[in-house]
């Protein structure tokens, strides 16, 4: 897993500086600094409610941080949003798509929003639907898609304008193993071609297989940051993760009535 580390880029693809976000007085993200090198495959790990989605949403301009900055490819997300958004491809989690459109219509809509011409949209849509194995569902409304298919069409929307940085929130959730392998291939090829990916997950196996870098987030703060090997330190990633996050392990004496 050495792709990307061969390149020593002048500018990191994404820099987060002192990000803070509070909801109703509770810190969802409490002062977070992160640097994602260009060409890296970055995994953002954390248990449920750790602040992964909040962090990524602030990084892509969906959620205004209380404090701190997000810098994508050298530009401030909140000062220069339109320029930044042009080079960003995002798959948000837990939001609806415009799901009363068919898959093909949704891609065309995304393309038009991105200011692409119709011929390019048609070509790339066909490619994406084909590669993601959604061709059979071209004329089905997205609302009728299965959860995994919705992820795939969301990914297609994120890829359509060939962005330089991909920010993916839980791209492997609810995706079947076959599709997951497919998505992994696509992303690996994308990184190999010079792109940068940061994605959130709590599936250790996927992270270990894909990532060059890992950051572990818990209670709105980064617990550890580094290359995959640095973070693992020769151990199993899952053990490191559980230890950092402070999870408890069942001893067997609880739930005796079960």
């Amino acid at each position: 897993m050495a792709y990307g580390s061969l390149v020593t880029p002048p500018d990191p693809a994404l820099v987060l500086q002192g990000l803070v976000k509070r909801f109703d007085g509770v810190y969802a993200v409490a002062g977070l600094d992160l640097e994602v090198p260009t060409g890296s495959f970055y995994g953002l790990l954390g248990p449920n409610g750790a602040g992964k989605t909040t962090t990524l949403n602030m990084a892509v301009g969906l959620l205004r941080p209380d404090h701190g900055r997000a810098i994508v490819l050298g530009r401030d997300v909140w000062r220069d949003p339109i320029e930044v958004k042009r080079s960003l491809g995002t798959l948000p989690d837990g939001v609806r798509l415009f799901d009363r459109l068919t898959g093909a219509e949704l891609l065309e809509y995304t393309g038009l929003l991105r200011g692409m011409d119709r011929a390019t949209i048609a070509d790339r849509s066909r490619d994406l639907l084909d590669v993601l194995d959604l061709t059979g569902a071209t004329s089905t409304l997205v609302v009728d898609y299965s959860a995994g298919m919705k992820k795939k069409i969301g990914l297609a929307c994120a890829l359509l304008h060939a962005p330089r940085l991909l920010v993916l929130d839980e791209p492997f959730e609810a995706v079947d193993p076959v599709s997951a392998a497919l998505i992994r291939d696509i992303l690996q090829r994308y990184v190999g071609g010079g792109g940068t990916v940061i994605f959130s997950s709590h599936v250790m196996a996927v992270v270990e297989r894909l990532c060059t870098h890992v950051a572990v987030l818990a209670q709105g703060q980064l617990k550890i940051v580094g290359t995959l090997d640095e973070v693992r330190g020769g151990r199993d990633l899952e053990d490191v993760f559980v230890e950092l996050v402070g999870g408890r392990t069942a001893t067997g004496s609880e739930l005796a009535w079960l």
Binding site: R100, A104, E108, T138
Partner: protein, 516 residues
């Protein structure tokens, strides 16, 4: 078990006071509105103590309240679905238990309580006429009447929602909705104008007939008891109770379907050509964000059941109202066109709320505010302006005073003013629609918002377009002035709302995202 529902509902009501400031303001406004209705209605209903017309006040007033309970949720406000039946789908619970719980929860809302308080005027009236016994009977009547109102409104919306949900019966359900919307609302108004024309004696005669329908019966028994007509009291109580039973059965029958949600998605739509977002008539437009949003909005006004039901019922009222009402009253025709144009404009009062979290897609791209808002206004205008203009022309020419163009001017001016103000409201006080499949569902607290939000534009449209109705300008001049004023306000609305979107798109997205 019912106590659990009561506690849950009370907790949810209390929680509507938490959160953002304007949410609290709205909750307070809702309570104040309920209080106003309770006091004002109570005073009106206590007029039933007057000899002679007291009977018509009680029966026709009561029937009016009951009709409003059935029609208003469908037409305007939506049902308070704080306790959405689908949330209980997985719990091992008998249907009768669930029904009882939901009924009690529905009785605990502001509308139900204020209705009950308002109708207590009848108890007062009956006490004046017939003493304590009559007052007790009148009280029984108000309780039965309230039960009937709640059961009827729940049953109709639940049945309609279920029908609209399954795509196969969509067309049939649309027809039902259309008939309901078109029939009841304007007929109520037409009925009032008929009653005014008929005079007091006929009014009493009408009240005697209505008192034998379930709508009026519970409100008549107090005065019947005061007059010693105990057989009629018994028969009317039976009639009301039987109707309530039937309505509850009907509601119960639609509950399982309502609990299923939209899981039954149905068949795939016939394939449109690859892509196919932009319909052929729009292909001439330059490819880009404006065209994309316009085309998507056009599809959504038809494909999203929530938008469709709102649009269709409003359009039908806007078309039928001038036709029905205008014929009876004659001179006020252009005035009613003003109302109809302004009403259609209020469709824009929650432009982004319909999208919910799907609006993320546009924020991710950073669509400029003016493009965003003008495309949305454009889409709805393409849908509603032809029927509104046609109605104005038809009623205007039927009027026979040669002021067809003036009618068109008034309708378009009212639409423009109301639309311009509505888009500003839609970005200043955006609100989330619940993530429910029920097209009539509203969140508690924001329930009255749809009403409040559409009230301002209506008033403004009335203020700005009324001079066109009153002033004796030549007909073509009225049209030109109407177009200029309406156009100017829409443009101003788009610019202001667009600027606001540019500044606060992420906050807008948060506001319209339904909390999970």
């Amino acid at each position: 078990m019912t106590r659990v529902f009561v506690r849950l509902k009370l907790r949810l009501l209390r929680n509507s006071f938490r959160g953002a400031g304007w949410r609290k303001v709205l909750a307070v406004l809702g309570i104040l509105g309920g209080l106003w209705f309770a006091l004002f209605g109570g005073m009106l209903f206590s007029l039933s103590g007057v000899r002679g017309q007291g009977y018509s006040v009680a029966v026709l007033g009561g029937a009016g309240v009951a009709l409003s309970w059935i029609t208003l949720p469908v037409l305007a406000f939506g049902v308070d679905e704080t306790l959405d039946p689908s949330r209980f789908a997985l719990l091992p619970m008998r249907r009768s238990t669930l029904l009882k719980g939901l009924l009690v929860a529905a009785l605990l809302g502001i509308p139900a309580v204020s209705t009950l308080v308002a109708t207590q005027g009848l108890v007062l009236g009956a006490a004046i006429r017939g003493g304590a016994a009559a007052a007790a009977v009148a009280f029984l009547g108000t309780v039965l009447g309230l039960l009937l109102c709640v059961a009827a409104s729940r049953a109709t919306t639940s049945a309609l929602a279920t029908a609209l949900r399954s795509r196969r019966s969509r067309d049939a359900a649309m027809l039902l909705l259309a008939l309901l919307a078109a029939g009841l609302g304007p007929l109520q108004l037409a009925g009032i104008s008929v009653v005014q024309a008929l005079g007091a004696d006929r009014l009493l005669a009408a009240a005697r007939v209505v008192a034998w329908t379930p709508l009026g019966a519970p409100y008549a028994i107090g005065l019947d008891a005061a007059a010693g007509r105990w057989v009629q009291v018994a028969l009317r109580v039976l009639l009301t109770a039987a109707t309530i039973a039937v309505l509850l059965r009907w509601w119960g029958a639609t509950l399982p379907a309502a609990m299923l949600g939209t899981a039954s998605a149905g068949r795939a739509r016939p394939a449109s050509a690859a892509g196919g977002l932009v319909p052929p008539p729009l292909r001439g437009l330059p490819s880009g964000q404006f065209t994309g949003i316009l085309a998507r909005e056009l599809k959504y006004w038809w494909r999203d059941p929530r938008r469709r039901s709102g649009l269709v019922s409003l359009l039908i009222v806007a078309i039928v109202l001038p036709l029905v009402y205008g014929f009876g009253v004659g001179g006020r025709m252009t005035g009613i066109l003003l109302v109809s144009g302004a009403m259609v404009g209020t469709m824009l009062a929650n432009l982004f709320g319909f999208d919910g979290s799907a609006y993320t897609a546009n924020v991710l791209v950073g669509v400029p505010g003016r493009v965003e808002v003008s495309a949305r206004v454009g889409a709805i205008s393409v849908v509603v302006l032809p029927p509104v203009a046609a109605t104005a022309v038809v009623t205007g020419s039927l009027n026979g005073d040669g002021r067809t163009l003036a009618s068109l001017g008034v309708a378009l001016c009212a639409y423009g003013v109301s639309a311009g103000l509505s888009v500003i409201i839609s970005v200043v006080v955006p609100y989330a629609l619940p993530d429910s499949s029920n097209p009539f569902a509203m969140n508690a607290g924001t329930g009255g918002l749809r009403g409040f939000a559409s009230f301002g534009p209506l008033l403004a449209a009335a203020a700005l377009a009324a001079p066109l109705v009153v002033l004796p300008l030549p007909s073509p001049v009225t049209l030109v002035v109407g177009l200029v004023v309406g156009g100017a306000i829409v443009t101003a609305g788009i610019l202001i709302a667009g600027g606001r979107v540019d500044e606060r798109a992420p906050e807008l997205l948060q506001a319209v995202t339904a909390r999970r």
